[in-house]
């Protein structure tokens, strides 16, 4: 049987299932032992809760990060609320045992938080429920499932992976983790990726479908789980697992190396990220900076625009994770296929050619200024943030954005808030218009980053999601390659750095061309960092130059692709 969920952490796990059941927190048999004794029990339990929780917070802070640990320190603060504690005491005075007092008061607060309109606040309901079950467990003397004692080869199955569960986990004994809730950016996902354990999350009814001892294969990349696999499937996945580990080991030697070609010429190798949590993974996978931080995540899955403070914290957190390394942050790139309901963007006939990205932002200075101010402020601490404008087609757009940026600086100056005065402003070169006037644009911005996905789509006039024309979507088309070459040349002539943050930057077939043309920085997904570094290591400059020259002499996309395929063998 195959179960499907969200592949949240890459790798293949093979083992037998261990289900972590909810603890039995039934307190109906508890006998009330008098007001004073119950008050003492309550106070002792709160003390124990605080001690345990601050120990866990400290563990998470060192193992995972400050932000993650604040969930736990926040729980201590909440339980320390004197008003909440006095409500519990009142119930005890009225003849209830400490368990009932905790249960009722926490239950009331959980309901109160669950009903509020603010999304972030609603999450506090989860915290209060967590406080409730952990307090009850302490009072009842029920120990949680001890995950530190799992036998080797365990596939952990749980409703959710809580921070407290993660703390005790012995990584070497866990083959994989399966849960019923959580997405790729959920707390559990971030934790399992940090632990490098294969994980499939959000499997409907996993706890009912999987029984203790079941033989399980989990593919954390694909998000699939095989229950009771037959011998052939097992053999197949053992091989996949071995390949995955071998590839990982092979590339691991490049983790701490410099990104240089065989002649010792240096290149910058950066990561593309979509959230502050991914910055950590990027740093750990050997990225030398962030070449593209997509800020859309901050605006998605919510009902109102994120505040300046919220954005500031997100940008600052990436700046800190990457301390001493560059972080290129792309301003809001909405529209096209990325709709955000509450922004009230109109439905368009041709969204990819419509009111999107920089065009939308410049028409909404109220909204855009919030982001620019947050970026300026976040840049003040590490001086490592660069601002990148998406979908630029004209000089006027750069000028308008720059003047808005100057307005924001003046405001911050007047308010006495620290900001990065010399923050670099660059553009994503991803339209044919920008490619053709790259020489002019380079005069008025501080850097280029080539976005090959959109550049290819617009140059080829092809919707890559349309099956009837998708074969026309190819970066190997001479039109796209000439375009990339001339953008790089324009940047070189103007003396500004040029990078590439589209999928093409990680394509081993294009690396010799990009090296030859003088690309300064390759920005790829975290999982492609080591492979890209290995590919760059492989080339001598003269050999790469010959390949580039030969490829550019070919006249069809298929011809170029075939030739490059054979050239990298």
């Amino acid at each position: 049987m195959i179960l499907r969920g969200i592949g949240a952490s890459e790798g293949i796990g093979i083992g037998s299932a261990v289900c972590v059941r909810e603890q039995n927190l039934d307190y109906s048999a508890v006998v009330y032992s008098g007001t004073e004794a119950e008050q003492d029990r309550l106070q002792q339990a709160i003390q124990q809760f605080n001690d345990k929780t601050s120990a866990m917070a400290e563990h998470i802070r060192t193992q995972v990060g400050q932000k993650e640990s604040e969930i736990l320190t926040g729980q201590i603060m909440m339980l320390s609320d004197p008003f909440m504690q006095s409500q519990m005491s009142e119930l005890i005075q009225a003849g209830q045992c400490a368990e009932a007092a905790v249960d009722q008061v926490c239950g009331m607060y959980a309901e109160m938080f669950a009903g509020v309109e603010d999304e972030l606040m609603r999450q506090r309901a989860t915290d209060v429920r967590d406080i409730r079950s952990r307090m009850l467990a302490i009072l009842l003397g029920v120990s949680g499932m001890d995950v530190s004692e799992l036998p080797a080869g365990s596939v952990l199955v749980a409703h959710d992976l809580t921070p407290s569960m993660t703390v005790g986990l012995k990584k070497e004994n866990v083959a994989a983790i399966l849960t019923e809730v959580g997405g790729r950016t959920s707390h559990s996902a971030i934790l399992v990726r940090a632990l490098e354990l294969p994980a499939v999350l959000s499997i409907p009814n996993a706890m009912e479908q999987v029984k203790d001892g079941d033989s399980v294969i989990a593919d954390g990349g694909e998000g699939t789980v095989y229950l009771h696999p037959d011998q052939a499937t097992l053999a197949d996945f053992r091989k996949k697992q071995a390949d995955f580990l071998a590839q990982k080991a092979l590339l691991a030697v490049y983790r701490d190396r410099e990104t240089v070609d065989a002649d010792g010429n240096r290149y910058a190798l950066y990561a593309n990220i979509g959230s502050p949590a991914e910055a950590k993974a990027a740093a750990e996978s050997g990225a030398e900076g962030v070449g593209l931080f997509r800020t859309e995540f901050l605006f998605m899955d919510r009902t109102s625009v994120p505040s300046e403070e919220e954005q500031y914290e997100a940008y600052l957190s990436v700046s800190r994770t990457m301390a001493g390394k560059e972080v290129i942050i792309r301003t809001l790139d909405v529209g096209g296929d990325k709709a955000v309901d509450y922004l009230g963007m109109e439905k368009e006939e041709n969204p990819f050619l419509g009111h999107r990205a920089i065009r939308y932002c410049l028409d909404r200075p109220d909204l855009y200024k919030v982001q620019l101010r947050a970026l300026l402020r976040a840049g003040a601490e590490g001086n490592n943030i660069k601002i990148m404008l998406p979908l630029v087609t004209s000089l006027e757009e750069i000028r308008s954005a720059r003047s808005l940026l100057e307005t924001c600086k003046a405001e911050l100056e007047a308010e006495g808030l620290p900001y990065h005065k010399e923050i670099p402003l660059g553009i994503m070169v991803e339209t044919p218009a920008a490619a053709l006037i790259a020489d002019l644009l380079a005069q008025e911005c501080d850097f280029f980053s080539i976005g090959t996905n959109d550049l290819t789509q617009y140059t080829m006039a092809v919707d890559r999601g349309n099956a009837q024309v998708e074969q026309l979507y190819t970066t190997f088309h001479p039109a796209v390659l000439r375009s990339i070459c001339s953008i790089i040349t324009a940047a070189k002539n103007a003396g500004i750095p040029v990078g590439m943050c589209g999928e093409a930057a990680a394509d081993p077939r294009l690396i010799p061309l990009l090296m030859t043309w003088g690309l300064d920085e390759f920005s790829v997904s975290s999982s492609a960092i080591l492979a890209t570094r290995a590919n760059i290591h492989h080339w001598r400059a003269d050999a790469a130059g010959q390949v580039a020259q030969k490829a550019m002499g070919l006249s069809t996309a298929a011809g170029v692709e075939d030739y490059l395929h054979s050239a990298i063998q």
Partner: protein, 87 residues
């Protein structure tokens, strides 16, 4: 009882950290502290009540203090809110 109307200026509003700072400051005074917001009366010495009220940036609130040290408590509350609650 003394009271004053003021406005939340810090971007986060009464989220965890600002609310904690406010509650800790108010705990130093003997008087009861109540915030009137959106037609609701909130016990401002309780971080849980304060957070659950979802008081955002730009919200107008009325702070009421009553009992011993009421004047000092009100002064401290208004100053703290207007200075941006530590943000």
């Amino acid at each position: 009882m003394v009271s004053a109307t003021t406005k939340i200026v810090n971007p986060q509003g009464m989220h965890m950290r600002p609310a904690q700072l406010f509650v800790n400051t108010m705990a130093k005074y003997q008087s009861d502290v109540t915030i009137l917001f959106n037609g609701k009366s909130i016990n401002a010495k309780s971080i849980m009540h304060l957070m659950a009220a979802c008081i955002k940036q730009g919200s107008e609130i009325e702070v009421q203090c009553s009992g011993e040290q009421e004047a000092e408590a009100l002064k401290a509350a208004v100053e703290l809110i207007e200075s941006g609650l530590g943000e």
